[in-house]
Structures are given as structure tokens and as C-alpha cells.
Amino acid sequence: MAVHNIIESVNLALKEEMKRDDRVIVLGEDVGVNGGVFRATIGLLEEFGDNRVIDTPLSENGIVAGALGMAVNGLRPVAEIQFMGFVYYILNHIICHAARLRNRTRGRITAPLVIRVPYGAGIRAPEHHSESTEALFTQIPGIKVVVPSTPKDTKGLLTSAIRDPDTVIFLEPKRIYRAIKEDIPEEEYTIPLGKARMVKEGKDITVICWGAMVRVVETVSEEAEKENIDIEIIDLRTLSPLDKDTIITSVEKTGRALVVHEAPKTCGLGAEIVALINEKALLSLNAPVLRVTGQDIAVPLAKGEDYYIPSVDRILQGLKKIINF
């Protein structure tokens, strides 16, 4: 065991998988000599050479199209997009090709690639660097969307993503890249995709969250305890496909639920989760399921982003509305 933060865990997972499997290739802008703008790929070029750690021209579309072609031709590329604000160029290749190649060739051609994207607000970054548009991807059948929230999960989930036979969008909560350190196993391990993590069991209300919001919700839980509200926290880990069983079992137990996410409320993944609870566990509910999310506005720049990101206070207020219903 050794202590690592999330960004180091990304690096460890990449390194181990590159050692284990020659087909794993890392490519993107600044991933080589510079070790990535967040240093996720530091040391990889030196260890694996420039045929496996590739600095590319500055085009997200080209990076993902190239990685996709590599995946079709038997490699296991891991492409890095520097910020979620620049990810939209890749949508055509994801929607029209990566997500449907297996289907349109009836299983003959597949696209096992991983696209790593740092996402989310809270680091006082310039415009277009703070988006959280995961729901654009969770609406696409044929790909998986994964978001870790701890160093240990990061390594295990990224390892699984690289080994997964389908395209995985791996969203990294950059706000907490270096905020959390924990002991993680030195040896390789995987965490299955599609399975949520029970962060904390509780009896009064289920709070469903992911990524950087998990840590905020943990603080909320401590505050709520002072008022005798016992929260059950679910970290989804995989946003597509959703872990229905963990969500529904929990809601059936607590009878109340709150979804917390950074993305805008309208058509955010929270809406899907509320619909799922409605379809599967309506009669267990003692109160409406609410959402505390980013607003339906552009993510404000540095001076305003704290109004946008769900805060401990806003989440607490949401909780109380449900408890006091």
C-alpha cells in the first residue's frame, strides 16, 4: 500500500496497464514530453517510448478519430482530452462510429477505447474549462460513462475501463485531483463498471451523487448528523449503465431520495434517476425526489462558480425540504 491522490492513481493505472498489455497506447495533446497538463501521464514517455505515448496535433476530433481507428485495428488506445469544454468536437465519432460499430457490424468490429476527460468546476479555471456535460454522453447507447471519486476507485475503475470491450468515457473530477489521498494497493486490481459504491449507510434519506460531489455530500452528511438526519450516500461510479439495484434497494429502505450533480438541472442525469425511482420504487417514497444541481445557465467564471456548484448549504436545504415534506 502507498498513499496516492487521484491524478497519481490515473498515472498508476495507465502505467500498469501499459506494462501488462502492449496494445495500450496513450495519446493526446501534451501527454508525452509534458506529462499531460495535469501530469496524469508523467513518466510514461520515458518508460514506454514515443510509439506508445504520443503527443498529437491539437485537434480533439483527430485524437479521438485516430484512437478509434487504432481500437478498430486491435490496439487499446487511451485518449486524453484536456478539458470537458473541448470534448464536443468528438461527439460525431462517438455517436456515429464508436457507439454503434459493434451493432452495425453485428459484432464483427468493435471499439475498445477509453477517452479520459477532466471535468467539472471549482478550480477557478478560464472559460470553457469547468463544464460537466456527462449527460450528453449518457444519452448515447453503446458507450459507457465512468466517474471516480476517490484515488482507490480511480485506479480500479480506469483499469477496468481499459480492459472493457466497449468505448468508455472516463470523466475525472479535476477539482479533487489532488484533494484526497488514500492508501491504495500497489498490485493491480479492478472495480467492476456498472456498480455503485455505498459510501455510507443511513436510514433517513438516500443521496445519489458522483465525482467531486461525493466529497461535498460527505460534509453534508456530517452536518446533517448534528440535526439527527442519517444520510445514505451512493456514489454511482458508472453513470451509464446505471446501477439500478443499488439505487432502488436504498430508496426502498429510506423512502426518500435526493440527487446531487454539478451539471445543469434540465435533462441532467438527475432527471433519469428520478424517473427510474418513479418507475421502480414510487410506492416506497414518503416525499418527492428532489435534485440539487448546477443551474440551467452557463457555468460562471471564477467569481461566480461557487453560486453554481451545489454547496453544502444548498444540499442541506434540499435535504430538509424532503425530510420535512
Partner: protein, 357 residues
Amino acid sequence: MLIDEYDPLKNKRLQILDENGNVNSELEPKIEKKDLIEIYKYMVLSRIADEKAFALQREGRIGTYPPLKGHEAVQIGSAFAMNKNDWLFPVYRDMGAMLVMGVPLDLIFLYWMGNENGCRFPEGTNVFPIAIPVGSQISLGMGFSWASKLKKEKAVTLISFGDGATSAIDFHDGLNFAGVFKTPTVFLCINNQWAISVPRTKQSASKTLAQKAIGYGFNGIQVDGNDILAVYAVTKEAVDRANKGDGPTLIEAVTYRMGDHTTADDASRYRSEKEIDEWRGKDPIARFKSYLGSKQIWNKNFEKETRKEAEDLVDEAVKKAEAEPPPDIEDFFKYTYAEMPWHIKEELEELKESLKE
């Protein structure tokens, strides 16, 4: 080398066999007699299959279909120049090239009939399924060839696309990355003058499309796309270069789309009969036919036999495609992921249940 010599900036366009069947013997590629026959058979087969597809659409037996008439030389000539390990990333109008590369004709019909099974080519067929989003195959195919290079495999990827696709982001990304990483790629731009109703002159102010390669750091060459000898010779050279590690080439094959964009289009809305007539005189099959005549390969009997053989193949393929049972409902669901997730299973069960009522 043709590719070095025929500089598009010097207004050079490679032609070996002209409209009247005259051959430039200095440049004439050496093709064995049996291959010449094979090439002609594929040209005829493509045209007859194309006419059949058009007729089937009009009878409501297949869906929207993009006719290839006029493209026989560029499709057959380029595909014939490829080696066994090479891969084709075709444009949607590429039936002829796909046939040469081993895609069964019945599968092509099946696909246009609206059955995904038509896109599952037999193992060992080095053809990517056609890309409908225009130009997206260019960057994707580049990535595929990049992997061949990284894996140190001797395999070239030929990517075909139209003149309209040169305006797409993927043309830039595909060629730019290919230039930087020196990938073993042949970019075949089938310039047929029209992207639905938009003429070539409105796609780009560039005098030729071939010269765009220069900006990406490699060679481009313009070739008469209705001259199968020229298409074959230049593709072969580009494939050999790529195999030797000399990187990518852009070939601009100048041709004409004789038919509508698709069976849902009406080209008379935007182009004149006069223009089509001019191109009728440059027909790729007629030209190659007279070449074979001069080689004492073609005669009326040969023509009759070749056509009969092609018609039989087409009839058989149509029969086979139409006899294919409708796809199993599960097939629409089960290939979305390697393993079906719970929600898709649930949706499948719901659909099955709804059909029982």
C-alpha cells in the same frame, strides 16, 4: 515516379488511356491478361448491379440507394491495386470497390434493403462498413493505418471519399495526422463534381483538390478518374510507397456522377443534360472496352458472356438477399454492448411482451 512527376500545381493530370481508347504506351501499366479480364468483369458487374439496385428501389424492394454509374474505373482500378493485407475504408457509393475487396454482393443488397446483417462482412474481408456521415471515414481510417504502422504490419489503408468531404473537419484531421505520423495511407478523393447539388467549385477555391496534400507535407496527384489504367497505376504506386514507409498520398480522381446523388435525389434540378452528355462521351467502361479490343481480348462474344455472367450473379444475389429472413428482434439489442445491460434487457422484454398482445 508518377506521383513526383504529376505535380498538381503544374496543372498536370495523369491520363494513360484517353477518351478514344488511345494508350500512352510509356506509362501503360503491366497487367496480366487474366487480370485485365477480371477488371472488365468487375466493371460490368458493378454497372449491372448498380442498375439493378436502382430498379429495385423504384419497385420498392430496397431503400434509398446511391448509384455509382460513372465511378467504375476509379472504384475497380483502385481496389485492384491493393494487396491482400490492405484495408478499404469506403465511401457509401463504393459498391464496385467493395466487390473487388471480397464483400459479397448479396450482403450489399441486404444492407440497402435495411438489414444490418448486410454490414457483417465475412471474416477476412478487409473492408470497413461504409460511413454515412460524410468524411468521417477519413480520420478514422487514418487511425486504423496509424495502428498498422505502430504494430509494424505491412498493410496499407485506402480511404475513399468525395469532393464534398474535402470540406469536412475529418479531411483536415485525417490528412494532417497522416502527414505528421507518416501513416501508410492512401487518400482517394473521388471528385465527381457534385456533392448533391453543390458543385466542386463551391466546395473549395483551391484549383485542384490534389494540391491540398502539399499543405500537409506529402504528395497529391490528380488523375483521370475515368481512365482505369491511370487509376490503377497511381494507386499501386501510392500503395507501394506507403508500404515502404514513405507515408501517405492524396489521389484526386476526376470523374463524374452520372446518376442522381441517391434514389431520393433529382439531379435535373441543379445540372444540365449538356454537362451529363459531355461526360457520357468519357465513359470508363467504353474506354476500357476499346483497350481490351486492341489487345484482342474483347469481342462481341466475350461481351455477351461477360454480361450474362454478371446478370446471373446479380440475380442470384438479389434472390439470396430477398430470401434472408427478417432479423431476429434480439439482434437489434444484443450488439449494443459486449454484454447487454439491465435496461436494454428490460426494453427488449417489454418489446417482446408488447408484440404478444
